[in-house]
Structures are given as C-alpha cells and as structure tokens.
C-alpha cells in the first residue's frame, strides 16, 4: 500500500515539475516573442515612415534641381546670393589681380562677421588682411597690429552689405566719415 502511495506521489511530482518546466518555457518563449514583436515593429515603423519622408524630400530636391538645371554658374550664384551682391563681387574680381593683397574691413555689427568670410571666399585667391574698427575709431587687425602700409586696396561693405573696392586712402576717408556719424 505504502509502496503504491509512494509511486503515486513520485508520479505526481514528476507531472508537476514537467508542468512547471513547460510553463517556464512558455513564459520565456512568450517573452522572446514579445521582444521580437517589439523589435520587428520598431524596424517596420522606422523604415516605413522614414522611407515615405525621404521619398517626399528627394522628390522636392529633384524638382528644385530641375528648375535650376538651365542656369549657368553665374546665374545660379546670382539667384542664391542676390544680383547686387554677385555683381559687386564680379566687379571686384575683374578689377583686382588674383595675386594681390587687400584689406578686408569687417562690418561694425559683430553679428555680420559672416560677411567677411563670405566675401573672402568669393574673392579668393586674392589675399585678405582682416581689419576691424576698435574703440576710439582705430583700425586694427584682430591681433592688434596696425594696417599694413604695403596693401593698397581695401574691400568694405557699403550700406547694404555689398562689397565695395576702394584704394586704401579712399577707404580710410570713408571709415573716418562713418565714425564721425
């Protein structure tokens, strides 16, 4: 009798442990399925939504390029940077030899510092020496050195942001007049 009870309880235990293992396996499997589901959904959303956005933006860029394709290089520059600015730059490029040095006078407003960088690129390979107006009306390079006397040309902004080519003396007169104002 006791033997029969013992056998029966051992069989029950075996059944229970098999059930626990199966349950564990199922829960681990369920967790793995959940992780895979989340991962695949993330990939699908990223690729699906992203592809639609990229097709739209590429199409916009291609359409714009189609409109610009007929323009030659100088016309494209004119449209990007404005006719007045581009004409002023082209005029200076014609007047100033490529191997010459010039004083590049930065505008008064500090937020317009980009102006000097833009003009320097457009006039390259002409060689610039940067000049800034200091307190008291002195004109100095950022390192504090004075205006070099061997440079005969100066480029400075007119009132509307266009570069203006003047001789050194003309530029000094103009800058002093500006300071007086």
């Amino acid at each position: 009798m006791a033997l029969a009870i013992g056998n029966c309880s051992r069989a029950n235990n075996r059944d229970i442990s098999a059930d626990v293992i199966a349950l564990n396996r199922a829960s681990v499997l369920g967790l793995r399925r959940l992780r895979i589901g989340v991962g695949v959904s993330v990939l699908a959303v990223l690729i699906g939504a992203g592809a639609v956005n990229m097709i739209h933006r590429s199409w916009q860029l291609l359409a714009e390029a189609g409109r610009w394709a007929k323009l030659d290089s100088s016309e494209a520059r004119r449209r990007s940077f404005g006719a007045a600015y581009t004409s002023a730059v082209d005029g200076i490029r014609r007047a100033l030899p490529e191997d010459s040095w010039y004083l590049l006078v930065s505008p008064e407003r500090t937020e317009a510092d980009g102006w000097a960088l833009w003009v320097r690129y457009d006039l390259a390979p002409r060689r610039p020496v940067l000049i800034q107006a200091r307190a008291g009306g002195a004109l100095r390079s950022p390192s504090g050195a004075g205006m070099p006397k061997w440079v005969h040309w100066a480029v400075l902004p007119d009132g509307e942001g266009r570069p203006l080519l003047l001789t050194r003396e003309e530029a000094l007169v103009r800058l002093k007049a500006r300071d007086r104002r």
Partner: protein, 500 residues
C-alpha cells in the same frame, strides 16, 4: 558633363586600387564600389599632399593626372591578366530569397538611387552655400590651387586672414584635383565629389552589416541609414555641403572595417592604412579616430595570438602595415603644420593643461550641453524617428558583448563622442559648440554605430528563426504523436514505432 569628370577621376583611380589589392576579392560588388571611391579620394589626396610638401611638386593638372594614372594603369594591367588567365571570379550562386527580402532589396536599390540622385542633382545645380565649406575648406582649396603648393605663403604669413590655417588639407587638395579634372573653377564640380560620399557611406554600411551580421541584417540597416534625412540632405555637415565630416566618417569606418576582418590580408592592411591616413589628414578628429582603429585592431590581433588562433599573425601584420602608413601621414602633418602660425582658430591646445582639463571635465560645463545634444538627436527634421526608436531596438535585442566585434564596435562608436565631450569641457561656449557640432560627431561614428545596429538586428532575426524552429518542431512532434496514437490498436502490442 565635365562636372562629372571629377567623380570619374576618383572612382577610376580607386577601382584600379581595388584590383591591385586582392583582399577585395572577398567583398561584394556594392562594397567594392564603395571602397573604390573612398580609396580613390584617399590616394589622390595623399599623393598630392606628399608630392607637394616633400617633393616640392607643383599642384596642377599633370600632377593630378600622374596621381590617377599609376593606380589606373596598374589596375588595368591586373584586370587584363585576370581576363587572360580566366581567373575572373565566377558570379556567386544565386540563393533563393523570400518575397519580403526581394521587396526589401528592390526598395533599397530604389531609395539609394532616388536619394543619391537628389543629392547629386542639388550639387550639380546649386553654388556652394554652406558655412564651413565657404569659410574653411573651399577657401583653402582656392588659395592652394593658386599658389600651386600646400606650403602657400598665405598660410604661413601671420597677417593673412585665413580661418583655421593649421587644419589638415586633404579635402581642399581633393577639391583642387576635382577642379583640375573638370578643367574649370566651377564649384559645382567640387560639390559633386562630396555628394558621392553619401552612396559610398551607404555601401560601406551595407558591407559592414554583411560582414558582421549577414546579408538580411545588412539590407535592413542600409534601409535604416536611408531613413535619416540629416546625412544626405543637410548642408551644414551632410552630403549637400562641403564639410569634411562625411569624408572622415567614411575613411574612419572603412579603415576600421578592413582591419577588423577575421583574417585580413596584407593588402587589407595597406588599404586600411590609406583610409586611416586620409582620415588623419581630413580633420583634427581624424587623429584620435585613426589611433583608436589601430588600437582596436591591435587588441583584436593580440587576443587572437594569445588564443593561438591562426588569424592572429595575419591581423598583426595588417595592423602593422596600416600603422606605418598612419605614422607616415602623422609625420607629414607635423612637418607641414610646424611653420604655420596659428590664428583665427579655437586654439583648444594653446591654453591646455592636464589639471585644467581634468577640472573642466569634472565641472558642470560639459553637462550643460545635454539639452542641446538631446534637441539635436530628437529633431524629427534631422534624424526622423531614428533616435526615438533605435534605443528600443537595442533594448530588446542588445548584441552580446562577449563576442569580439560588439565590444570593439562599441568602443569605436564611443571614441568620437567622448572626444567631443572632452572638447566641450575645454571651451567656454560649450552649448554653442555642441549645437553646431554634435550631429557631425554622430556622423563620424556612423559606420561602427550601424555595425552595432546590424548585430542587434541579427540577434532579432536569429531569435525569430529559433522560435520558428521550436514551433515547427513542436508541430512535427504533435503530428507524429497524433499519428502514432491513431495507429495504436487496443490489445495489440506489436505496433511498430513511427520513425522519428
């Protein structure tokens, strides 16, 4: 048409080099095309830099032609020899793909062509309008081309107004070569060279994914890369500008990929050395990134040698060859830079001291950049949903860090980010610098980052397959047990077992 000549110059040169380097026989056609463009740019840039600085050769059309002619002629010779000996690689046997994978492949091809065409069309029709391109890289190129040397007077004269005069000049030299090939000053020829870096990066990421995680994971991460708008479309760092970050990302990633091959050949070491040397001469960040790639490759070789793997020696030799080229380019950079007085620059290192650096690093200054960094990464305009959702992907399918490429790729991804963090600690306007540089730093870490993503996607795919196998096995078992149950006849004990 002449505007495209610049692209043909670099691609043809690089194709010649990939034929000279037998290691590329193992690469896919896509990977080979990507590497061809990068190697062409790297070779011509390095050749012009070295010939101009050490050889005092004039930077002009004939020198550019010579730079391109040598690898093109060698590559042509090897191609003819392979054709005569009929050793041309047979086309791979086509494996059957599922419908979803076929759609994915066509989707990848379609998106790649569409986006690359849009970027190239923009480059070929619009003038240069981006900030750093006009301020530094293209301006330097104009000065170098006029002077005919990398040691131009304007760089060395302390009075001249040049932004970042000590920045390495590989990309301005590439611009000079592009202008010479196009035979004009039209800046659109130069812009086209930068535009092609986008498909090159994509092919590199695809090749990295294929190498480390298989072709399906490679396909998925290449599609993921194509969904990030910032990389192809942004003017201030992406492929529609003339910033040097995209070329740097390609050179660093390409060098790393070649050196982390299971058993690299000597030619892989030379190719990786060319790419890492180009990285070093592209931007200041190229130095820590190249050294990191070499250190990781050396570590991998050391571990393989300790474990007595046969690949250890090959990896060590490849790393040594790459190191020689990188050290050579470092020597070139130091020699070229030393007579140039620094000005119009952030001057990180002029006020540098170890104690102030340690103090700044522990201060709250770099941490003030966190909101800016978050705003950059979570901008839908720049990154789409990428940074919102990829962390979830890593959370559910983090690749095992016990496997070698994962740890190495994680370190390679972290290095540019940590270098930027350290730089933010050094400058007083840290938030401003973070706002203008963080996206570009992420781009520099792009190839190892997408390599990690490929490993995560691979894990996802493997687990999915395992579960499918378990389900199939269970269904088979159930079928068999029901079959055997139906065959059991009560009272008959000699029913044969159903073969398993």
């Amino acid at each position: 048409m002449t505007l495209i000549a610049s692209i043909a110059l670099f691609f043809g040169t690089g194709l010649g080099l990939t034929l000279c380097f037998p290691g590329f026989e193992k690469s896919s056609l896509a990977g080979r095309a990507g590497f061809a463009y990068l190697l062409g740019v790297a070779w011509i840039g390095l050749f012009l830099y070295t010939a101009s600085h050490f050889g005092r050769a004039r930077l002009d059309g004939p020198l550019v032609f010579l730079a391109a002619f040598l690898p093109m002629a060698a590559g042509l010779g090897i191609a003819v020899r392979l054709l005569i000996l009929r050793r041309w690689r047979e086309p791979a046997v086509r494996t059957r793909r599922g419908a979803l994978q076929t759609i994915g492949r066509w989707g990848l091809v379609f998106l790649t062509i569409l986006i690359s065409s849009a970027v190239l069309a923009n480059a070929l029709t619009h003038p240069l309008e981006d900030w750093d391109g006009r301020m530094t890289w293209a301006a330097q190129a104009a000065f170098l081309r006029d002077a005919g040397t990398v040691d131009a007077e304007i760089l060395r004269s302390p009075r001249s107004f040049i932004s970042h005069p000590r920045y390495p000049l590989l990309m301005p030299l590439v611009q000079v070569a592009a202008s010479e090939a196009a035979g004009s000053d039209d800046e659109r020829a130069v812009r086209a060279v930068y535009a092609v870096f986008f498909p090159a990066l994509l092919l590199l990421v695809f090749e990295a994914g294929r190498r480390w995680a298989g072709s399906l994971a490679a396909l998925l991460i290449a599609l993921l890369l194509l969904t990030v708008p910032w990389i192809p479309f942004d003017r201030e760092g992406g492929a529609t500008g003339a910033y040097s970050d995209l070329p740097l990302a390609c050179f660093f990633g390409g060098g790393l990929l070649l050196l982390l091959r299971g058993r690299p050949r000597l030619s892989d070491g030379v190719a990786a050395g060319l790419l890492l040397a180009a990285a070093l001469l592209t931007k200041n960040e190229g130095l820590p990134e190249s050294l990191t790639a070499l250190a990781l490759a050396g570590l991998g070789a050391g571990i393989a040698l300790l474990r007595r793997r046969r690949s250890g020696r090959a990896r060590l030799l490849a790393t040594a060859l790459a190191s020689i080229l990188v050290l050579g380019s470092l020597g070139l950079l130091v020699s070229w830079r030393s007579p140039i007085p620094n000005r119009y620059d952030e001057s990180y290192f002029e006020t540098f001291s170890l104690s102030s650096f340690a103090h700044n690093l522990a201060s709250e200054r770099p941490f003030t950049t966190i909101p800016v960094i978050a705003s950059r990464m979570f901008s839908a305009e720049a990154w789409g949903l990428f940074w919102w959702l990829t962390p979830v992907l890593f959370l559910v399918a983090a690749p095992s860090f016990r496997r070698p490429p994962t740890t190495l790729l994680a370190v390679a991804t972290a290095v540019p980010l940590l270098a930027a963090w350290a730089a933010y600690a050094q400058v007083t306007t840290a938030t401003y610098y973070a706002s203008v540089t963080w996206n570009r730093i992420l781009l520099q870490a792009c190839v190892p980052l997408f390599g990690l993503l490929a490993l995560a996607v691979k894990r996802l795919l493997t687990e999915n397959r395992d579960i499918r196998d378990i389900r199939d096995n269970r269904e088979n078992r159930d079928e068999k047990s029901s079959l055997s149950a139906s065959l059991i006849v009560p009272g008959v004990s000699d029913v044969p077992d159903v073969p398993s």
